[in-house]
Amino acid sequence: MYGLGMLKGLGVTLKHFVVTYLEDLRWIGKRYDSPESLAVRQGSQARGAFTVQYPEVKLPVPEEFRFTPILLYEEGPNGERKDRCTSCGICAKVCPPQCIWIVRTTDPATGRPVPEPAEFYIDVDICMNCGLCAEFCPFDAIKMDHNYEMATWDRLSDKERLLKPLSYYAAIRPNNYAREEAARAEKEAAKAARQA
């Protein structure tokens, strides 16, 4: 019969429409956008249409999600900060669009380089969010952030804006953090053993 194909197709959309409301009924009494609901209704169990009310509600991002880089510092017991970056320059060398500028610190007395950056700029305008800087930094000093809402007047990020405490990193990427810290501790131990 002519039109049967169309009717069948409409059946699919009708089902989709009905299922959307049946699903809503199934979740009634629970918050529409609770974490449990998001996990199911945005995953492979999802049925029907489901809308996330961004920006009031945000989908959780996976741990490996990358946006723009941040620099990490360690916090001392009295709140003092210690940059992890040693200004070795590897990230600036590996960055594909070359949007990292680093000024190395030199000791004014001896003129020798000090392992700490005097300045650290990332032109977020140009950054292509590739994550290569974080991948190849040998000191775990530069990492990819999860924050994707970064409207500013000036997209040139300086050191001040880039620096984030280690605890922040541990919170957004717990597995990576644990793995890297374990590797660092091991390295330290090996170094101490060699010196002893």
Binding site: V94, P96, D123, M128
Partner: protein, 579 residues
């Protein structure tokens, strides 16, 4: 192929053809004057009937330009590489368009970017750049307005990183150069007149007072800003009433000279740039590039990485084809409901990419000799759920939803027919080629990675119309699910990287052509290394770009509205067309 056969090829190609003996190179050097004859012999006698890629290389130190042709037999097997060397001052080579019409856009691109003239080309104009552009940018002595250094990393970044924005140093209006005796003020785009002239007797582009104008024929511009063009893309159509007489695709609006950028980058830096070509299939783009560079380096990824690569490539194919189907329906006028249905599934696949590589579309996941990281915890069960439960069910549902629809059938069956012979001649690739009855799939014809281990059928459909190009995408999705099933069952444990990951890949001198069956067709990377940290030449054989050669063939004789549908059935991405 054994050496004996290769010797045979050399003698059969005739006088003056010598083997390319440079270290790390392969193929044959052909005297420019004999090129057409040699190509004809290769096509008619040796079975190399498919001209996959045409490109050029500037060997500045030797004062030579080289044109490189990659030919393949559609029966499957290894390819034949022909090269013609030309003096840099007057580079002229006979056009292969009469033999292989699929070379049309590619030869125009070589002319545009490298300034090599193709004698006998029917319409040798710039294709990606505009007429007011000075010079040929892929020449090694051509520098851009924002030129800083020949190769990255730039010295200004470290240890005295003086922050500068290049736009401040070279402000607007100083960043453009024009050819000699070209004045941008008062310039009439005569290129358009040439374009229209290329379409036949209609000139002037409209129903103006031209006496030669046949009142029944008009020129219509589709695009560049048009919802049906999948981006900024223009088609100039010559119409007789509503019937298409001829058409010319016009592109380059998104051109960024990807290849020049790549030749300033180190090998690794190019990986995230390949994501931006066909941004629907970044995993596939990574794959091809990694293969080409691995060929040069002579390394191979570990087993587990091979499986994960195939897994990602097939998931990419599924989500790309789902979107292709959705957008084709968009072009048919079923505005966005089918796309959204397709996107529901695509999003779930992108979730996997995001959890694994960190990004939904710009994956940057492949490394030379391996992958960026292993699958994080919890991803594999999700993939299983998709492959075994959700996707088969949802693909069937989409099939039920659209395939038998009478409007879809009426608009697609018998429309935009591309015959088998023309599809091969026009160098169509991927689903476009296979829907015309040519069972050519790089995964089978010249298996790369571990595709020789999997059991799957090369999808093929006989009619070459829009409906077959639509159906074949369902076939391919189902075959991909079959491959994924085997991948999931066989996936071994182990390393995912050969050697230590390095940001300075050491790539020995030589050339390599890495090609993969990307969702949109054969994607090839032609990479030349001189042993330096940056590639000397990096060329992308972009399937979307070359498949556009077939658009005119598909549209002639059909109605204007069918152009939109045919274009949708090719499935292009402008990021790849314009590069």
């Amino acid at each position: 192929m054994t050496d004996k056969v290769l010797d045979n090829v050399e003698s059969r190609l005739g006088d003056g053809v010598v083997r390319d003996e440079r270290g790390g190179y392969s193929g044959y050097l052909v005297p420019a004057a004999r090129l057409a004859n040699v190509a004809r012999t290769a096509r008619d006698e040796l079975g190399y009937d498919y001209l996959s890629s045409v490109t050029g290389v500037d060997y500045l130190p030797e004062g030579k330009l080289e044109v490189v042709y990659q030919l393949y037999p559609t029966a499957g097997g290894a390819g034949l590489v022909l090269k013609a060397q030309l003096p840099r001052e007057a580079p002229v080579v006979p056009s292969l368009v009469p033999l292989f019409p699929g070379a049309e856009l590619q030869e125009r691109e070589v002319w545009d970017l490298l300034g090599i003239r193709f004698e006998g080309h029917p319409d040798l104009r710039r294709v990606l750049l505009w007429e007011g552009f000075a010079g040929h940018p892929l020449r090694k002595d051509w520098t851009e307005a924002y030129f800083e250094e020949d190769a990255k990393p730039f010295k200004s970044r470290w240890p005295e990183g003086k922050i500068h924005r290049i736009e401040d140093k070279v402000p607007f209006r100083h960043n453009v150069a024009y050819p000699p005796d070209f004045t941008p003020d008062g310039w009439v785009p005569e290129g358009d007149a040439a374009l229209y002239a290329g379409l036949g007797q209609v000139t002037g582009g409209g129903n103006g007072g031209d006496p030669a104008l046949n009142t029944d024929e008009i020129i219509v511009n589709l695009g560049p800003q048009h919802p049906s063009t999948h981006g900024v893309f223009r088609v100039v159509v010559r119409l007789d009433g509503e019937t298409v007489v001829d058409l010319k695709p016009v592109m380059g609006y998104l051109h960024r000279n990807h290849e020049k950028i790549a030749e300033r980058n180190t090998f690794l830096m190019n990986m995230p740039f390949t994501d931006r070509l066909d941004y629907f299939s970044s995993m596939g783009n990574n794959f091809g590039y990694a293969l080409a560079v691995e060929k040069l380096m002579g390394i191979q990824p570990p087993e587990r990485a091979e499986y994960l690569r195939v897994m990602m490539a097939e998931l990419t194919r599924i989500q790309n084809h789902l979107s292709a189907i959705g957008f084709l329906l968009n072009d048919l006028g079923a505005f966005f409901t089918p796309v959204m249905y397709a996107f529901e599934e695509r999003e779930l696949i992108l979730d996997i990419f995001e959890a694994t590589s960190g990004s939904r579309m710009m994956c940057n996941y492949f490394r030379f000799g391996g992958l960026e990281r292993d699958l994080p915890d919890g991803v594999l069960p999700k993939i299983r759920e998709l492959v075994y439960e959700r996707l088969p069910r949802k693909v069937d549902e989409l099939d039920r939803y659209l395939t038998e629809n009478e409007i879809v059938r009426a608009r697609c069956i018998g429309v935009g027919v591309l015959t088998r012979e023309r599809a091969i001649a026009l160098s169509a690739a991927g689903p476009v080629l296979r829907a015309s009855g040519v069972p050519y799939d790089v995964r089978r014809a010249e298996p790369y990675s571990i595709y020789d281990r999997f059991d799957f059928d090369v999808a093929v459909r006989p009619h070459g119309d829009v409906y077959d190009r639509y159906l074949i995408r369902f076939d391919e999705i189902r075959q991909s699910l079959r491959i994924l099933d085997q991948v999931l069952k066989q996936l071994p444990e182990g390393e995912i990287q050969t050697g230590k990951p390095q940001y300075q890949a050491r790539v020995p001198a030589g050339e390599a052509y890495g090609r993969v069956e990307n969702p949109k067709g054969e994607l090839g990377y032609y990479v030349i290394s001189t042993g330096k940290p940056t590639p000397w030449r990096y060329h992308v054989r972009a399937p979307s770009f070359i498949n556009l050669t077939t658009l005119a063939e598909m549209s002639r004789g059909y109605k204007l509205a069918d152009v939109v549908v045919s274009l949708g059935s090719i499935d292009i991405v402008l990021g790849e067309v314009d590069r």
